[in-house]
Amino acid sequence: MFRYILRRLLQMVLAFFGTTLIVYALMFAGQGDPIQALAGERPVTAAQRAYLTEKYHLDATGVGGFFYRYFDYVKSLLQGDLGQSLTGRQIGDILQAAWPITVKLALIALAVAIIFGVTAGVIAGIRRASIFDNSTLVLTLLVLGIPTIVLAPLAQYFLGVKWQLFPPTAGSEPTFYALLLPGIVLGSLSLATALRLTRTSVAENLRADYVRTARSKGLVKRRIVTVHVLRNSLIPVVTFLGVELGNLMSGAIITEGVFNIPGVGFNLFRGIRTEDGPLVVGIVSVLVVVYLVSNLVVDVLYAVLDPRIRYE
């Protein structure tokens, strides 16, 4: 177990350096004018140019200069210093303000996925090929197939603007009620996947030998399902939801952008729109780390939950 975690940790460190190097190289290196690339299509003032040249040591040239700047970037990333956005705000401060809101939204989405997805999945798995099963299959296919950029604005229009069941946008201090509709929209994808996973794995386990044994011992169906089947069936679901929480934490760019929720994804959305290079790079770097760590946690969790998985 310890060796497995160590190995995964080592892999993660490699992946971290690999991805940050790629992000960094793509954003800054090999460009005619890195400062202009940072600023996108906007003109750069002389003061901004001088500031950026000094900050990123742009006067050093060649491969040595590149790696010097890269390690400089990694060092400040690890120290939590993400630099300033083009508007002059500390990116660390922006993220600090945004993260609690994103986490709140992610938890709502996850709760929606667990409450509806897992319950419906268990029922569909037990009653395979019933009307309930078939209709959930079609419904989940629809949800999985409809892109978020369609789902979010349409939900906002119909439920928020037209029928006014929910507030159409969240303000700077979003309440639980304002986050509910975005949470449902965000969670609907995880819901559909969780439902399908639960269904398949419940249906598979119902045919397993140990269930037949339990049945022949004379146990009632309720006990077989809740104690024997569920415990094994939920392993893949838990793993999936773990990955999903990681994904959701790293900000729902579209959902937060559409519903105007000032979370991490919204800031990235705004950074892309306003062509704020440093803000985009800063947020993307942090999100990559979050993504890698959550993948690690899930892999370890998977190994702990399912003894059939060998650590080697």
């Binding site: 197939g145 892109p147 604005p153 999936f240 760019i253 990559v288 993504y291």
Partner: protein
């Protein structure tokens, strides 16, 4: 985070469960007096599946729309007059006009081409990379497989949307052709991993078959065995995965265009139109609803088509 990543994650988990086609192909299941092939069985299933026919019809309609938009509308999508901003339906513009005074329906019809082009070419690029990597890894095994599998793991670990944002930011101001090529390139190099895993596992199954051993004994070289014997048998699962991928690539392109880093102004794309429609939804909702419906139907059609074919070919799911 976004739909295509969730889809990728699900398929990733499916791939983790190992090769889907276990050895002992269902070819021998036919009864003694009436042998039926797997494809025949699958076709019988598909014929009775309404989802298959609906999605096939939608795919045909949208392909036609991409090839010949003139069949569906005669209005010019770039003929925009601010004076008829958000005006109601008139003269061929059955859904009225959008914020810029362009024909909403005509724009949606003409947006099909870019979407399908990006989707199809990304799927094609993905397919080529996946076939090469999957075949080489699966056929040669040993250290080649180990190295390529790690590469797949690493690429799979890169969040698609974030990587696409970083990659596409580099394109900057470029001509529409360059932009489309860039989007296709980005989607292809980030999206090939799932298909590669599927190809790899089906190649591993196929190379243990007797006919491969027979070919080897007859003196066929690696190239011939891979091209003539293994490729035809591992193509079907890859095509199914790529059909589903085509749908999610269209969704990905629309998402990137929605964010403003995918296709840009002279190119008409649903993602952009949804974004402008969204901003002005309080004045008029049709410019939002029409391209949204087109996009959702296209993506759904490809995903459902792939799903139906996969279900028909996978006896374990019945």
């Amino acid at each position: 985070m976004s739909d295509f990543e969730t889809v990728a994650a699900t398929e990733n988990q499916a791939a983790r469960r190992g090769p889907s086609g276990e050895p002992g192909t269902p070819n021998q299941i036919g009864a003694a007096h009436k042998p039926r092939s797997l494809a025949g069985d699958a076709w019988r299933d598909l014929r009775r599946n309404p989802i298959f026919w609906i999605s096939l019809a939608l795919v045909v309609i949208f392909t036609l729309m991409a090839l010949a938009p003139g069949l569906f509308t005669t209005n010019d999508p770039s003929d925009c007059l601010l004076s008829r901003q958000h005006a109601g339906p008139s003269g061929g513009a059955i859904f009225g006009y959008d914020f810029q005074g362009c024909d909403t329906y005509s724009r949606a019809v003409h947006g099909t081409r870019a979407s399908l082009l990006v989707g199809a070419l990304s799927a094609l690029g993905t397919g080529v990379i996946a076939l090469v990597v999957g075949m080489v890894a699966g056929y040669f095994g040993r250290w080649i497989d180990a190295v390529l599998s790690r590469v797949i793991d690493v690429v799979l670990g890169i969040p698609l949307l974030l990587a696409a944002i970083v990659l596409l930011k580099r394109v900057g101001n470029a001509s529409p052709t360059v932009r489309i090529t860039a989007v296709i390139f980005v989607l292809a190099i980030l999206g090939w991993t799932t298909a590669a895993r599927v190809v790899r596992s089906s190649v591993i199954t196929a190379k243990e078959q007797d006919y491969v051993a027979a070919a080897r004994m007859l003196g066929a070289g690696h190239g011939r065995i891979m091209w003539r014997h293994i490729l035809p048998n591992s193509l079907a699962p890859a095509i199914v995965v790529l059909t589903i991928a085509l749908g999610s690539f269209i969704a990905a392109e629309a998402t990137l265009s929605f964010l403003g880093i995918g296709l840009k102004a002279p190119t008409i794309s649903w993602g952009q139109d949804i974004d402008t429609g969204r901003i002005h939804m309080r004045e008029s909702a049709t410019p939002l609803i029409v391209p949204s419906t087109f996009l959702a139907l296209t993506v759904l059609a490809f995903i459902m088509l792939g799903d139906a074919i996969r279900d028909a070919f996978d006896p374990k799911l019945r």
